[in-house]
Subunit: 340 residues, 2 copies
Amino acid sequence: MRGVSGPGRRVTLADVAREAGVSTALVSIVMRGVAGASPANRQRVLQVAQDLGYVPDSRARVLRQGRSQLLGVMFGVHQPFHADLVEGVYAAAEEAGYDVVLSAVAGARGEDRAVDTLLADRCEALILFSPLSPRSWLADLATRLPTVVVARSVKVSGIDVIRTAEAEGIELAVDHLADLGHTRIVHIDGGDAPGAAQRRKGYRAAMRRHGIAAEERIIRGGNTEDSGARAAAKLLASEVVPTGILAFNDRCATGVLDALYKARIEVPEQVCVVGFDDAYLAGFSHIDLTTVRQDAAVMARLATDQAIARLESADDGGESGRDVIVPPTLVVRGTTARII
Amino acid sequence: MRGVSGPGRRVTLADVAREAGVSTALVSIVMRGVAGASPANRQRVLQVAQDLGYVPDSRARVLRQGRSQLLGVMFGVHQPFHADLVEGVYAAAEEAGYDVVLSAVAGARGEDRAVDTLLADRCEALILFSPLSPRSWLADLATRLPTVVVARSVKVSGIDVIRTAEAEGIELAVDHLADLGHTRIVHIDGGDAPGAAQRRKGYRAAMRRHGIAAEERIIRGGNTEDSGARAAAKLLASEVVPTGILAFNDRCATGVLDALYKARIEVPEQVCVVGFDDAYLAGFSHIDLTTVRQDAAVMARLATDQAIARLESADDGGESGRDVIVPPTLVVRGTTARII
DNA sequence: CTGAAAGCGCTAACAT
DNA sequence: ATGTTAGCGCTTTCAG
């Protein structure tokens, strides 16, 4: 049993060295798997390390090496789309030999706190998933270390952005509904959320392009299920009920579906609904949501590669930062159909 | 602009000391906010630190102090219920003055890798959310540092467990359906998932208690939407279709609803469905799932407190580890109704 | 109230 | 191939 108080003593490299009867430097060589140790000693040291349950102290290693090879990721713990992104970053970082440290935004823990811990952790670069904090805050961050923002369009000096062609995405959705014969298409927007402005713009452009600008209608939503449900309720109470609803994102769309379902309105027979993201939730469940897909795997890889590029080369993305735009695709599922 | 290669140099405590014209020790005192510096110097040092953008290096601090005050949390990035738990751990840890480091299980990144990084990070205790790894692996972990398992019942020496009264939960669900007049109640189980065995047992006990043991039927499911959908499809193809389905958890239930919906079976009119967890997803959306609620906030707090208790006192929970059981509650929503 | 110096666990230069 | 040593950024005695 461990001692009665405080954390148990850790097994150090020196412990292994003593037990194996060699120097700490040699143990270090063996543990890192680099050349410079006889096979016999290597074998022996590994065995002792195993027996003692030695685990290298990454913090000490980082301190000594001067480099952490650590990418800090800020994400929203309740955002299914962020989960997809996290998975992609792990994969890309591992290939490149970098480690990842996560910091969640959750409840009372805001973005500043999340990033502070990342900085204290000696991360070399930051990857932020749809941060809501002001531009000035982001700009300040970028002066300290390479910063990549995913899924929010910010034009800030030094910040790289990986984002979806928001307008193009929503236009795909409008095209889809228009092709199915819809004209009364409303957009429940994202308010101040990242991407919301571009999506509104794309919606208007597409409505005009289809010659149904007169039907334009945008009502305030948000990026939560609640906001979608509230917006849909308001819509149902209005005089003209639309046949097509473009929700800000999948979560919003889920709320919309909830409200429609409760009002006994048939989807897609009476009203069609389109989401945005294609978070892994959308495809499952009887949500079965037609949605505009953002490719999380691709975006995560681009973000990771960009962060690493900044660290390893002179690539500063130009004064104003890189702006990589990923094309979205439409995923047609069960919430849309030809108008009756 | 930063240098062209490698991470920019960090501002260190020594930099601040030099700039402020004091010793590093004094800066340390000021930065930690402890007594021992004149107000004038304190003011001055803080100002300089601010100007230089100094961020204390948590890794160096930990190295020196010998204690990290760090709680390592392993969670599944795609598990909505884990997201709720993470939020709770952050809150509880902050109150107690501990830091939290997250390590996600995602795709190719398995539990062993997730925990390895936690150990390398010098965590003092581990909190694992429904780990699937074998008992021997957990036992080994527990010999190294305090380990708390949440939402999986493991009887392993030295491991503390915080879990829901699984059987009791599923019995609540059976009682609910029985009260509504159902008798043909099947259980789509969780296979080998944590808690699955106890839930099967609870199901059988409750069926017997209601005198409908003859209707007992358990079919294999799992803890994903897919597994639920497959099980439901199988159920629909069988001779006797049940009127009540107890799914292993909310994700499984979501898949069940999906399959029923596609088969044009009315819920709750023709078939009722009950989930388990009440992850934040269940309440939203037209899923509107009746479910057995596990209280994530309470479980997270208990887990965090238990981990800290092990670190700070002689409380070793007894030889075999503490086993804290949290009572579940039934949340009645729209997927259950009186049988017609 | 302030400074000098040692040392946490590790790695990298250098020496043998 | 192996050992010795210095020092990463910080905190903590111990002197002054």
